[in-house]
Symmetry: C2
Subunit: 248 residues, 2 copies
């Protein structure tokens, strides 16, 4: 085993947990973190005592409530969400469709919030899910407002394809991004799955930079884009104002 | 400085962040964590590289998106929330009042979710807020279904008071808890503030134990408790079923 720093070893225990592995035994953790059982035991005990992990009656470990409380302070996690939630709820009530909030992390979009009532149909995107930027509506809205060098690097790299309708031509993608900047709205039509369409708009922070994007996902067959556009734009502007943005 | 373990030092950096201090300079972190500037710098760098912290343009540190993603796996955090959210939304649409989800952590209730649209009035409880169990509706619902030894220890300790109406008499509290178990519903009337009332019900997990509580908070003056009770009970049963609970 190579020499690893103490922080690196402790963080590797946290990184052992993911959506496919939300509950792990001590043996699982030691294997997934690349640690001896003794080291894993010592680190897991420290994390459990602090509340970053919780041990259930069967001896299985889960992510703990205290880590969740600290993480709730993330400006791009729950803090953004707290400003956005009333507007997301209004958008949900106005459309009764799936509503999402997402941020950019490098070349991916990360969904930090979704609202989906029983009456909504179509794609259900889980919180924490990641997608390439050019595929989804929120991703296009975020990419269109990224620094030029980020957009250039993105368009020069290979563009992953999910359906026959996914934008994989960089020339077309550049044109779409210019159009998103012009209209303020991004539409992803059957780019993720063959039966879904999303309409997204960018959310601005107090300094005017784009910090997030909001979208509605609807079944492609019944999508009434002209009806959705103003609702999504209004929600994005409402959240931006709540974050301290002033138009113009 | 006393000898502290490596995990303890790293976790003290995370613990430096709280609701009153969501953004910290390196100097703040070193002081709040009780670490030398050199050690703080080394640990903050490791946490930032991993994504547990993020550094903004001004050099200030915030909790990072990656920590938020790991924390989203907490069964009592976002995982519970994902099962509960459709029912919380239904409850919100039915009442248009503040809706909460909470869990017990020792002798406190921790709010893990709230929904509050623009039309809702009254108390706004932030995610991650903590209250003594006997004060709030969700707290009473959770305490009433705690193991008997937890209830006994709680009733024997001094009972904090928030208003003139807060339950501070252990004999009365025991009677209220028995009533909550009998009816399945807890009402906290003007116990937190003089103008608010909450109606709460317990949420059961797959094994039948109580894992959370759901509530509606309304202004005391217009509170129509008989109307709220069935809605809150239905939401609690819906979430319980979504978690795998089977009645009877």
């Amino acid at each position: 085993m190579t020499a690893r720093s103490a922080p690196d070893r402790l963080l590797s225990v946290l990184a052992a947990f993911d959506h496919a592995h939300p509950a792990l035994s001590l043996t699982d953790i030691s294997r997934r973190a690349g640690l001896t059982l003794t080291t894993a035991h010592r680190l897991v005990s420290a994390l459990t005592e602090w509340g970053a992990l919780e041990r259930d009656a069967s001896g299985t470990y889960h992510v703990g409530l205290r880590l969740w409380e600290v993480a709730a302070l993330a400006p791009r996690g729950l803090a953004l969400r707290q400003a956005a939630l009333p507007y997301l709820e209004d958008l949900y009530e106005a459309t009764h469709e799936n509503v999402q909030l997402a941020v950019r992390d490098g070349s991916e979009v990360v969904y930090t919030e979704w609202l989906s009532g029983h009456s909504a149909v179509g794609v259900r995107i889980r919180v924490g899910a990641r997608w390439p930027l050019h595929v989804t509506g929120v991703g296009l809205a975020l990419l269109a407002h990224s620094p030029p060098e980020v957009q250039e690097a993105y368009c020069e790299a290979p563009l992953a394809s999910c359906t026959d309708h996914t934008l994989t031509d960089p020339v077309r993608l550049r044109r779409v991004l210019a159009e998103v900047r012009r209209t303020g709205v991004a539409v992803s039509s059957r780019q993720v799955t063959d039966d879904a369409l999303s309409v997204a708009a960018a959310v601005h922070g107090a300094d005017g930079t784009v910090v997030a994007a909001v979208s509605v996902v609807v079944p492609y067959a019944d999508a009434r884009v002209p009806v959705l556009v103003p609702a999504v734009r209004l929600a994005a502007r409402g959240i931006s104002r709540a974050l301290g943005w002033q138009p113009g």
